[in-house]
Symmetry: C2
Subunit: 214 residues, 2 copies
């Protein structure tokens, strides 16, 4: 079960709330980026960035100089998948089909070298599965330039909307087309770096990567 703190309890559209940890994992594991919210000088800042999950911990990374990762204050991490546009009979009831997760917490700067590597591996594999073993792993110098933070998935909420529009009863008689325009994600053909100096085939884990977002 997910938490039920005041900020993870939905105020509106409560029927869209999901309460199991599996729902949370599903939204997170399907994503490529999150939007990380931090407070800098009293004002919000929202930064798109990669992430990875190991059990009930989310890992984020950045330059050791990153303003967004520097603090020890609270953060909010949001992952959103837009699945379609919901076209209703009234402008008011237009909506989107989506899956989203929000996680609140105070990240911990990871200092243990093994955990740092596990976190970086999870972040790399989330973005590009198979690449940790395929590419050159980080040098000591690269590791020293990288900050890794861990965010517990303790305080989190999941919201999902799927299905056709929900119109006002009196609007169903209107001669207005209503339905869903689904949004699809797919991978294009891999584009080999023109600077490749040797003939290397596109690896299977790249050419046959399962469709994103699911």
């Amino acid at each position: 079960m997910l938490s039920t703190t005041s900020r993870t309890t939905l105020n509106r559209s409560k029927e869209r709330g999901r309460t199991s940890r599996d729902d949370l994992y599903a939204v997170l594991d399907a994503g490529l980026i999150c939007h990380l919210g931090v407070v800098v000088d009293g004002a919000p800042r929202v930064v798109p960035t990669g992430y990875g999950r190991v059990g009930d911990t989310l890992y984020l990374h950045g330059s050791t100089g990153s303003v967004s990762l520097r603090g020890t204050g609270e953060v909010c991490v949001t992952v959103t998948h837009v699945d379609g546009v919901v076209l209703a009979r009234s402008v008011f009831n237009h909506s989107m089909n989506y899956r989203s997760a929000m996680i609140y917490g105070r990240p911990r700067l990871v200092l243990d070298e093994d955990e740092r590597l596990a976190g970086l591996r999870a972040i790399t594999e989330q973005l590009a599965p198979g690449q940790w073993d395929a590419a050159r792993t980080p040098t000591r110098k690269e590791l020293a330039a990288t900050a890794v933070v861990a965010l517990s998935l303790t305080e989190a909420s999941v919201k999902v909307r799927q299905g056709p529009p929900s119109d006002e009863p009196e609007d169903y008689a209107l001669p207005v087309w209503a339905g869903v325009l689904p949004l699809r994600l797919s991978w294009g053909a891999p584009e080999t770096d023109p600077a490749m100096t040797s003939e290397v085939e596109v690896p299977e884990h790249v050419s046959s990567r399962p469709a994103p977002g699911r």
Copy 2:
């Protein structure tokens, strides 16, 4: 030209910064949702939501009871397009191709009825072009339940990364495939609401909607 305040001036990857207002408009106009960052009780909150643009003003809407739109404090609005995964020869140089915009400011609650309607129209048309004229427009009661806020595009930054990986000089000799796996967005076939009570064809502006994200 875009602003050059301390928070819209890039600290890292400066070469990814774009400085023209047209670049800002292009990123915003191609999007379906933004991530709205607000500060609630001292902590950040990041909420995915629709938006619309009229000139140099961004409009957001929500329930009049929405916590995220209630305040008059500063917000940060971020719009991100992920265009591909950048697979480098080293784990460290893995990246993403993306276009993103960040806007900082203090939103103004829109009270003028004409501007409220113009804002709602822009938000609806951003999500579903052609639908403001196709669907039933808001009633007085629906309007009363909706808060519209305006955010000036005065303080904004745009960041874009495109192209192949950038590896360390000594890594180009490694027998590791490098390149870009492009991420594509497309519309699926429109799904008619099973509750349709009359035969209405899918309108042209839905069935022939141009590919999203561009």
